[in-house]
């Protein structure tokens, strides 16, 4: 790999100066209607080119904070907790549509407060939901710790976390029990899996399984069974890792698994390549070494990533995973072998 995979740029050192306009140059919406925004911040927002409620509503807290770096004590966390975008969106009204160039995302912010006893037990649980439009639905509290109630409360506010309704059950008729498809994912499938990987971990994690249920260790390149950090250009990738599934009394002893391993370029070019997919069965409590082979990688610096999903034994193609986990592995380089040092004559 020689050079970047990005468009050509000719800019030299490019100072990122603030906009030179002043608040007198333009008029904007009244941001002081938004809780958390005063006169000074409103002026800074206008100077930064954020003039309307809609301008504010379509931006993430990070994007807003990035425009206000010179405002002391202002952080994206504070902007998120005060829900500037949500407040602005409500001031815009329901008919407005977000700008097409902006990401379509919103925040669901919760504050969870646990009152603990001296022995660490939970005496009281309080949850505050910032984005609620009704004050009566902002706060909820109950004595002690109730994991199921907490999860149900979160799901009640976040549609994506809600359990599937019967009408949304698998659209494809269930097939005979068998292993998942062994076909290598296409590039599109790979991109989808990569993009939703971390989301999958959260969304499909059963509450009853501890986070340590599935572990992936020692992810790296191998050659002849030995861990290495360098491949020569053109050398097929050989990857290994160890899979651990914790023994749990409430679970079966054997599980099916699928594992996708990708290599992400570390050179700033956003390149990601699927190296291979492995699948099989793993027994709880018995570390399973997994080896898979992939195509040669272009010359570069990479970080390996593995996404592993665990299913009940003999699951169907439409089964939801019991747990999935993505982990990053070692840095690897694909490079020419450096010249051997010339031995010093004695």
């Amino acid at each position: 790999m020689a050079g970047c995979h990005q468009s050509e740029r000719s800019e030299a050192v490019t100072p990122r100066e603030p906009r030179q306009s002043t608040s007198a140059d333009h008029t904007g919406d009244d941001f002081q209607k938004i809780a958390g925004i005063g006169q000074a911040i409103e002026r800074r927002l206008h100077d930064a080119g954020i003039l309307t409620y809609q301008d504010l509503a379509v931006r993430t807290p990070e994007q807003i904070a990035a425009r206000l770096t010179d405002v002391a004590g202002l952080s994206s966390a504070r902007i998120a907790s005060q829900d500037w975008a949500g407040q602005a969106g409500r001031l815009v009204g329901p008919s407005a549509s977000p700008l097409p160039s902006e990401p379509d995302q919103t925040y669901a912010s919760f504050h969870i407060e646990l009152l603990l006893d001296v022995d660490g037990s939970v005496r009281r649980t309080k949850v505050h939901y910032y984005q609620s439009e009704k004050d009566s639905e902002k706060d909820e509290a109950w004595p002690g710790w109730d994991e199921g109630r907490l999860i149900a409360l979160l799901r009640g506010h976040i549609p994506l976390l809600a359990p599937r309704q019967p009408a949304e059950a698998p659209r494809q008729p269930a097939e005979a029990p068998g292993p998942p498809s062994s076909a290598t994912p296409t590039t599109d499938q790979q991109e989808t899996a990569a993009a939703s990987g971390s989301e999958m971990e959260t969304a499909k994690l059963p509450v009853s399984l501890p986070s340590s249920f599935l572990r992936i260790e020692n992810l790296g390149l191998t050659r002849a069974g030995q861990r290495i950090h360098r491949h020569a250009p053109g050398e097929p990738a050989s990857i290994g890792f160890t899979l651990h599934v914790t023994q749990a009394s409430t679970q079966a002893a054997t599980f099916d698994f699928t594992a996708d391993v990708t290599a992400s370029s570390e050179l700033g070019d956003n390149q990601r390549q699927l190296l291979g997919t492995a699948q099989g069965a793993v027994r709880a409590g018995e570390p399973l070494p997994v080896e898979l082979a992939g195509p040669p990688l272009p010359r570069g610096l990479y970080r390996l990533e593995a996404t592993v999903a665990i299913y009940p034994a003999d699951h169907t193609r439409d089964s939801k995973p019991l747990q999935s986990r993505r982990t990053t592995g070692a840095f690897v380089q694909v490079a020419d072998v450096p010249a051997q040092p010339v031995p010093t004559p004695t």
Binding site: R9, A12, R16, G268, G300
Partner: protein, 194 residues
Amino acid sequence: MTTPVPLKSPQGHYPKCPSKSHFPVITGFVTPGSDFPPPHPLDASISLDVFDPTEFVGPGQYERIRVVETDTPFLIEVNWCICGQFAESICGCWEITFFLDDVDGVGPSSGQLPNSTRAVAVDSQPAVPGTTDDVTKRCYNLQVTIPANTVQPGAYSLLVIIKLYSGDCPPQPGKVLGDYLGFAEIPVLVFVPE
């Protein structure tokens, strides 16, 4: 209880005079190649200094300072180099941010230095094959002049942080690459009223 006897001579040694001016700076630069065994496929180094852009000590050479008069501007210079065989392959955008930390803990100017963040395109500088050390390098120089009266009097430390983003420089810097971080800190920088 005994009364301490006043010492009549130093109990330790006087420090030796330095052979040349010494301005210590704490630096570090982590890259994805930092932990590979030598020769590192990718490594980086960074330096940081502060100058008085109104005082010359030689032709085109500003005076290096550690005491800044608040009513005069000061110039921060950051130099950094990416080294190794992958130096020429890196893409993206460097983001350089500056922070002041008030040593006395109550100074009014702590936090991010206003209007000082800069972006530098990675490919704005070419990779140059090494000469004496046989290591390919890609080096950058950034000078930021901070206007007078930006910082209130006090004792501060000055920190610069360099991060790499995967996209083009503003307006679309992309995502930050968490495996790159350069930093340099001048432990003591004193601002005094004129």
